[in-house]
Symmetry: C2
Subunit: 227 residues, 2 copies
Amino acid sequence: MARGQGDGETPDPAAATLSEAELTVVQNESLIHRRREQICQAALELFLEKGFASTTIRDICAKSGVNQASIYDYIANKNDILRRLLNQLWFNPDVPTLPEMLRAAPEAGFEEVLRRYLREAWEKKRKGTLLVYRSVPHMLEEDRRAMRVRDKALLADLSGELAERVGLPERDPRTEVMANMIIFMTAFGPMRDWLTRDVEDEVMLDVVAAGVAAMVARLAESAGEDG
Amino acid sequence: MARGQGDGETPDPAAATLSEAELTVVQNESLIHRRREQICQAALELFLEKGFASTTIRDICAKSGVNQASIYDYIANKNDILRRLLNQLWFNPDVPTLPEMLRAAPEAGFEEVLRRYLREAWEKKRKGTLLVYRSVPHMLEEDRRAMRVRDKALLADLSGELAERVGLPERDPRTEVMANMIIFMTAFGPMRDWLTRDVEDEVMLDVVAAGVAAMVARLAESAGEDG
DNA sequence: CCCAAATCCTGACGAATGTCAGCCCGCGTA
DNA sequence: TACGCGGGCTGACATTCGTCAGGATTTGGG
């Protein structure tokens, strides 16, 4: 039974997603989709709980109910699972990026858009955020590169949006650091929720959004001084 | 050759550090110390590069020059190495905490102290920060608990210092979220340095310190309004 | 009810892992 | 020079890992 054909077929360096192996054994598309869903869901929970490297294929099979042999009819290997998860959760989430939201709602203030963004991101991208920050060392170098490309693009986009509001050139390092901080703040809720679980979500959101808005205002101020 | 006696001997739940196994085979204390240094140094670099779980004892031996058998005369097991690293880098670093520095320099402004703190933390605790955030899933539950205790204590301490400056009660959730954000920001430099490596350190420091100070000021402001 | 195609699963492979028993060597002392 | 002992090391153990060949089983059309 000749199974899949391994990893990277499309080495497009600017690809927006990670390449997923194609498998040819099972033919029923909807079955493939269903099984992959089971597998990825189980894998995600295990990766978050025990980390990528110490989650075994056997664990994933047990949790998802897919047989140890059959699993290779649906995914190419363990790393392929990680790639598919990152594609779903990081590269293609149903949450627009912050700069997109800023552009979509030009009438709303920065702080209000930020609040909406954080609310959505913390709700829908929580697991993806955790997975990304934790599994960087286990990604293939090629995939890490793709992630960095994506991250840099987002950073540039946000820097652009920010530059206008702050009155600094887009490529000013201070603008870039600020954009970086804001992106980092997206991970705040997910990564430190073990210590903030007894705080009401909306309170946390308010404090973070207000804080970040104040950071940005402060940068604008100091840009005005030396501009 | 009866080697060490495994893991947790001192189950003190409020212990300030993680318990390290005692080994009884090698007797020369300074030799033990020297070898442990080699081992931990090599392990740290490997853990950061490939992650804890996919670093093997053989890797560590190769990199540190210690024999595969002898290594168990100096450490109890792989997890013991992680514990020792966390003790060195996280529980006992030669960097005072932020609230300590605030208390030690009451004449200096918040922003200036913050800048000093971040400078030191990013220089001396960088690797520890990375190690902690990445190896949480591989720690024993007991150790994770100890970390959380420590983290909570730091959080409470910082909340206390902050409360005065902000005019909110120490236990106000907003104060706690703010303290949490500041602690999180300590990880900003290390965790996102792959994207900020071409930014000068001092610029980054300025932007972050100014930003955080602005966040705190903003919180004080809104506390004044509803106080 | 039968047969072929599609899907599932038993069982196993080679490689890698954490761990260590037990032998080895060299050095200081008698 | 002989001996004892602290420390190093070869080689191997039991286990677990990712992976899959190939037979068993189900499914659907005639």
